[in-house]
């Protein structure tokens, strides 16, 4: 029977199957961070259980950690306890951990791929919804709850009901200045934040195949914002080239065996998808959000929509509430919206290519007066690489702040937060009310738009400079 890529990977991981029960799926890699794991380790202790495969598990500190003064103790006492708890748990259970100050520390979804731990055909889980990032390598990657974290720690498996399959086809060539962030924002605006509910999305088409590995990760990262269980892209030469030579990539004969398997990982030509969505590449443009969920977006050249034009009642009510919260008037051109903060970073757009593309725009320019720009590398390695290339000098010369790696202003759990009423152009993934700090207002953008916006002080593309 013709099958999709996701179905193939699924079938390759079924440990136990019985009718009336969810499939028991083997997990190849379990990523851990400080926020969703403490209670899972507690559960193990209470039941007297061990971690079945510490060698398939890795921990890093990211959500709560500060991005300045990382050589000093964490100031917030509760954050400190959470980070210390992770360190103790890792030690007690024999799990590898990359702590603040370690060269491999960083956002969990940046660290896995960078080490070469995320590979095609694998199942990857983490107690974090943006685990979908890892699907960019052609595997199944799910976010899970804390009970499931405990389950995976104890058994290295997860009982799971099989999702439905969706194909998103992006054929053609992207216009200049349009990035993978714009593809995913446009998709979510089209299908809605619930459009992917119950599905695994496979991104296909010539425009997807033309993307770099890092750009693919940006798309898969935000699959969850469309409500999807996971997102993935079939592996190809781009994937193999990215992996070759990385710390944990297969070597020698293993590499050849791996490549032979990886090349089988694609959907059959006649595979059935429960839903198909076409997004022609040449119809796309730089995209930004105006509202308080990632589906409330328009082209940067567009205007703030009028809720009265929205037919669906729930969507109309939500748009009305969003405009009040965002303090925006219907009909305002997006490019007239002034920001006071620009955040470049997160597991969506905190990788080296993101920093490079923003630096190119900022080179020789200045961040607009009254605008504060935070540049936060996704990992310590990304930071080092950027410094080796002199990117930090460009950011600093432009007047931006150059920080240590972490989740930072993506969510208000660490000291980097918006104040009430502040407006931010952010390369992160969620524009929920209060996400970047109580009362803060978020516009989701690509790194290129973030850089141009920093220079002009209003939402802008590099073409506007």
């Amino acid at each position: 029977m013709a099958t999709t890529l996701a179905q193939k990977v699924w079938e390759d991981h079924v440990v136990h199957r019985a009718s009336g029960e969810p499939d028991l799926i083997y997990i190849d890699l379990h990523l851990i961070h400080e926020v969703t794991s403490p209670q899972a380790f507690d559960g193990l202790r209470i039941a007297g259980r061990k971690v079945r495969r510490p060698d398939l598990t890795i921990a890093t500190e990211d959500h709560n950690t500060p991005t300045i003064d990382i050589d000093k103790p964490i100031v917030d006492p509760i954050s400190k306890i959470q980070v210390d708890t992770l360190r103790k748990n890792a030690k007690d259970f024999g799990i590898r951990i990359h702590s603040l100050g370690d060269v491999e520390q960083g956002i969990v979804h940046v660290v896995g791929p960078q080490l070469g731990l995320t590979q095609p055909g694998m199942t990857v889980v983490c107690g974090d919804s943006h685990t979908s990032t890892h699907g960019a390598f052609g595997g199944l990657a799910f976010g899970i709850g804390t009970s499931e974290v405990e389950h995976v720690l104890a058994t290295q498996t997860l009982p799971s009901a099989k999702p439905k399959m969706m194909a998103v086809n992006v054929e053609g060539v992207l216009p200049a200045g349009v990035t993978s962030k714009d593809i995913i924002l446009a998709l979510i605006a089209k299908i809605g934040t619930g459009g992917g509910q119950g599905f695994i999305i496979e991104y296909r088409g010539s425009a997807i195949r033309a993307l770099s590995m890092e750009a693919r990760m940006t798309i898969c990262n935000m699959s969850i914002e469309a409500g999807a269980r996971a997102g993935l892209i079939a592996p190809d030469e781009t994937t193999f080239n990215y992996l070759k030579g990385r710390d944990h990539a297969p070597k020698g004969a293993d590499w050849d065996a791996a490549i032979a398997y990886w090349k089988t990982l694609k959907s059959d030509d006649d595979a059935h998808f429960d839903l198909q969505v076409d997004l022609p590449a040449d119809s796309l443009a730089p995209f930004v959000t105006w509202g308080t969920n990632p589906g409330q977006g328009v082209a940067l050249n567009g205007v703030v929509p009028n809720p009265a034009d929205i037919k669906d009642e729930a969507a109309r009510n939500s748009a009305e509430r969003a405009l009040v919260y965002m303090d925006l008037k219907a009909g305002t051109p997006m490019k007239q919206i002034k920001v006071d903060t620009v955040f470049l970073g997160s597991c969506t757009n905190g990788r080296i290519e993101d920093l490079r593309s923003a630096a190119q725009v900022l080179k020789g320019a200045k961040v607009s007066q009254g605008v504060r720009m935070l540049v936060v590398p996704g990992s310590a390695r990304v930071r080092l690489q950027a410094e080796a290339e002199g990117l930090h000098e460009i950011f600093l010369a432009a007047g931006a702040e150059w920080r240590q790696a972490g989740c930072s202003m993506c969510l208000g759990m660490n000291p980097d937060q918006l104040k009430p009423g502040e407006r931010c152009a952010s390369t992160s993934n969620r524009n929920f009310e209060g996400r970047q700090g109580k009362g803060g207002r978020t516009h989701l953008v690509s790194p290129l738009v973030a850089a141009a916006t920093a220079i002009r002080g209003t939402l802008s593309a590099p073409a506007d400079l």
Partner: protein, 197 residues
């Protein structure tokens, strides 16, 4: 996990829909490292209002929450389930739950029961009229009962059995340990490991 067969208690009418996980328990409470003690964060913004239903003395002893549609939307934080349990709830009745919240609740032994919207409305009215109304949530018979009413509800056999036996999923999976070991023996050797001695 404790066995869940029949739970009998009184109920709180929460006449709100779209209660998201941020409202059930805000992000600042997620920094805790325990699984208990989250009751103080439950609906914390609303509880500042003395009129809020949980603050009314007639509902103090209630152990069943009767909520509006789309309960538990938003993030995957399981802390939302723990907060409800820590506060003393054993069951939540609603006409629709968010997927992840429902999954989390059934893993932690908080029974989430889906009833038609009209029946939720009827329970609200009954409980508001007489807060001492005793309600039985019967997982064995798949029924909610109060006064003369018998309301059937659906739950899949596997989950029902697991809750009735009080089996945590980990315990169940561990019964398949031999199969897991078999699978591991056949796993490709090129797959990565995180520990390199």
């Amino acid at each position: 996990m404790e066995k869940f067969t029949i739970h009998t208690g009184t109920a709180v009418p929460l006449r709100r829909s779209n209660v998201d996980t941020d409202q059930i328990i805000p992000a600042e409470y997620l920094k805790r490292v325990t699984r208990s003690g989250f009751e103080d964060g439950l609906f914390v913004a609303w509880r500042k209002d003395p009129q809020f239903v949980l603050n009314q003395p007639q509902y103090k002893a209630a152990s069943i929450l009767v909520a509006g549609a789309d309960f538990g939307t938003g993030s995957s934080r399981e802390h939302a389930v723990w907060a409800l349990q820590n506060y003393g709830f054993s069951a939540v009745l609603s006409s629709r739950f968010a997927d992840i919240f429902r999954g989390n609740s059934l893993k932690s032994g908080l029974l989430t029961v889906i009833l038609p919207e009209g029946e939720i409305e009827a329970i609200w009215e009954q409980v508001e009229k007489n807060p001492a109304t005793v309600i039985s949530v019967d997982l064995v018979a798949r029924q909610v009962r109060y006064e003369e009413k018998i309301l059937p509800f659906e739950i899949d056999d596997y989950t029902r059995w697991r809750l009735m036996e009080g089996l945590d999923e980990i315990g169940l999976t561990l019964q398949h340990s031999a199969e897991v070991a078999d699978f591991e023996r056949k796993r490709a050797t090129f797959k990565p490991v995180t520990l390199t001695n």
